[in-house]
C-alpha cells in the first residue's frame, strides 16, 4: 500500500470546505446549547409542576437517546410536519438540543453551588425572583461552570461527523464522496483526521484560557 500525496492534496480544498461547515454547525449548535441549556436548567427549578415535570422528562429523554437517532428523527420528521430546513440548520439544531441537555446539568451544578444565604439575602431585600436570578444567582453560578461549558464545545465539534447522516457536507461526507470516486480512503481519512485535530486544538485554546481566567477569579 502506498500513500498518494497528490490524491490528498487534490481533495484538500473540498475537505477544508467540509471543515468550515463542521465549524459552523458547532458554532450554531453551541449557541443553541448554551441558551436552551440555561432555559432547561431554569425550567426544571420552577415551582410550576406542569412546566417542571414535562421539561424534566424531555431533558432526560433526549439525554438518554443517541444523537444519531435524534438527527434521523429531525431529518425525516420536520419536513413531514411542514418545516423545511437546510441540512446544516437541521444538524445544528440536532447538536444544540442534544448538548443542551448536558449544559443544563452543568448550569444546574453551578446554580446549586450558590449558597442558600444568597437567596435568603435577596429575599430579605425583597428582590423579585427575576432579579434574584439575573443579578445575584446567575452571575455567581455561570462563571464557575465556564470551563465545563467550554469542554462541551470541543465534544460537540467531535460529534459533527454524525451530521453526515442528515446530508450535511462536513468533512466525513467529503471523504465519502471523494473516496467513492478515487478509492483513496487512507489518504483522505488521514488528512481529515489531521484537520479535526488542528480544529479541535484551535477550539481548545480559548477554552483553556477561559478556564484559567475563571479559576483564578473564583479561587
Amino acid at each position: 500500500m502506498t500513500f498518494d500525496w497528490t490524491a490528498a492534496w487534490d481533495a484538500l480544498p473540498q475537505l477544508l470546505d467540509g471543515l468550515v461547515v463542521a465549524l459552523w454547525a458547532t458554532v450554531l449548535g453551541y449557541v443553541l446549547a448554551l441558551v436552551l441549556g440555561l432555559a432547561f436548567a431554569l425550567l426544571r427549578r420552577t415551582e410550576r409542576a406542569w412546566l417542571r415535570l414535562p421539561v424534566g422528562f424531555v431533558v432526560e429523554f433526549i439525554r438518554s437517546t443517541p444523537l444519531l437517532v435524534q438527527l434521523f428523527f429531525l431529518f425525516f420528521v420536520l419536513p413531514a410536519v411542514g418545516i423545511e430546513l437546510s441540512p446544516l440548520a437541521t444538524g445544528a439544531i440536532g447538536l444544540g438540543v442534544h448538548y443542551a441537555t448536558y449544559t443544563s446539568e452543568v448550569y444546574r451544578a453551578g446554580i446549586d453551588g450558590v449558597p442558600a444565604g444568597q437567596w435568603e439575602a435577596a429575599k430579605s431585600l425583597s428582590l423579585s425572583r427575576g432579579r434574584t436570578w439575573t443579578r445575584v444567582v446567575l452571575p455567581q453560578a455561570v462563571p464557575r461552570v465556564v470551563p465545563a461549558l467550554g469542554n462541551y464545545a470541543i465534544a460537540m465539534f467531535k460529534d459533527t461527523p454524525q451530521l453526515t447522516v442528515v446530508t450535511v457536507a462536513e468533512v466525513l461526507s467529503v471523504v465519502k464522496a471523494v473516496g467513492a470516486q478515487n478509492f483513496r480512503y487512507l489518504e483522505l481519512i488521514t488528512v481529515a483526521g489531521v484537520l479535526y485535530l488542528a480544529a479541535a486544538l484551535l477550539i481548545a485554546w480559548p477554552v483553556r484560557a477561559l478556564e484559567r481566567r475563571y479559576r483564578k477569579e473564583t479561587a
Binding site: P115, G117, Q118, E120, A121, K123, S124, L125, S126, L127, S128, R131, R135, V136, P139, Q140
Partner: protein, 259 residues
C-alpha cells in the same frame, strides 16, 4: 409610633421532624421597640426571625405585622394560606442581617447597598447612590464603596450588610447573631455601629445575640427562650440583674463564663 402593637405571634408552633422548635408561642412587639431574644441554641430564636422574614412558615398559629396576617390572606370571608404576591408585599416591611453577612460577592460594596433600593423601592440610581454613600459613611466604610466584599474583613462585610439592610428603610430590622462569626475585636466594631443605628433610626429591632452587654445597652426588653417557649420577658436591667427563672440564671451564668 412607639406604643402600638406592631408584631404579634399568636399560638405559633413549628416542628422540624420530631423536634419542636416553637411551642404554641404568643407575644407582641410594639412599633419602634428594641427586643433582644436570648436563650440556648435550638430554643427557637432564629426561627422567629426567619418567620418574620418569610424564610420559614409556621406549622400553625398566626403572625401579624402592622395588623395584617403575614402568612394568611383574606379571600372572601376565609383566611387562606398566603400566596407569593402577599408574601412579597409583606416582606417590604422587614429586612434581615445574617450571621454570615451574605453580601453579594459579584457586586461592589455600593452596588450591594443600592441594588434593592433602585429595583424594589424605585429610587433613581443617583438618589440610591447618594443615600448608599451616607449609610456606608455611617457604618464607617465611606472609603470602601468601590471594593468587592471579598476584599473586606468580616467585620467590614457585616457593617456593609447593616447599611444594605437600612437602605431598604425597613419598619423592622432583624439581626440574626450578627457578631457570632467574628473575632471579639471585629464584633465590637459591629456592635458599636448597631448602637448608633439604635440611637438614630426609628426602627423596630429584633435581635438574636449572645453579646449580653450590647443587649443590655440597646434593648427595651429581653425575651428569654427555652425549648420553643418564652420563659421570661423583662427590661434588660431586671432580666440580667434579677432574673426570676432558675433556667434564666443558669443560662446567663454560662454565657458570662464564656466571654
Amino acid at each position: 409610633m412607639t406604643g402600638e402593637r406592631f408584631i404579634s405571634f399568636d399560638g405559633v408552633s413549628k416542628h422540624f421532624g420530631s423536634t419542636t422548635v416553637l411551642d404554641d408561642l404568643s407575644f407582641d412587639i410594639r412599633a419602634g421597640e428594641r427586643v433582644t431574644l436570648i436563650g440556648p441554641s435550638g430554643s427557637g430564636k432564629t426561627t422567629i426571625l426567619r418567620m418574620l422574614m418569610t424564610l420559614t412558615r409556621p406549622d400553625s398559629g398566626t403572625i401579624t405585622v402592622d395588623g395584617v396576617p403575614l402568612f394568611h390572606e383574606r379571600r372572601g370571608d376565609a383566611l387562606v394560606p398566603a400566596g407569593e404576591a402577599h408574601l412579597r408585599r409583606m416582606r417590604r416591611h422587614t429586612t434581615m442581617v445574617f450571621q454570615q453577612y451574605n453580601l453579594f460577592p459579584n457586586m461592589r460594596v455600593l452596588r450591594n447597598v443600592t441594588e434593592a433600593p433602585v429595583h424594589v423601592l424605585g429610587l433613581s440610581r443617583d438618589e440610591a447612590e447618594g443615600r448608599g454613600r451616607e449609610l456606608l459613611e455611617l457604618v464607617g466604610l465611606g472609603d470602601k464603596v468601590d471594593a468587592y466584599p471579598s476584599q473586606l474583613s468580616g467585620g467590614q462585610q457585616q457593617r456593609v450588610a447593616i447599611a444594605r439592610a437600612l437602605a431598604m428603610r425597613p419598619d423592622v430590622l432583624l439581626l440574626d447573631e450578627v457578631t457570632s462569626a467574628l473575632d471579639p475585636e471585629l464584633a465590637a466594631e459591629v456592635l458599636d455601629v448597631l448602637r448608633d443605628v439604635a440611637r438614630t433610626f426609628d426602627v423596630t429591632m429584633l435581635c438574636v445575640t449572645h453579646a449580653m452587654r450590647f443587649a443590655r445597652d440597646v434593648s427595651d426588653r429581653v425575651l428569654m427562650f427555652n425549648e420553643g417557649r418564652i420563659i421570661e420577658s423583662a427590661p434588660p436591667e431586671q432580666l440580667f440583674d434579677a432574673p426570676e427563672q432558675v433556667r434564666t440564671k443558669e443560662f446567663l451564668r454560662s454565657v458570662i463564663d464564656e466571654t
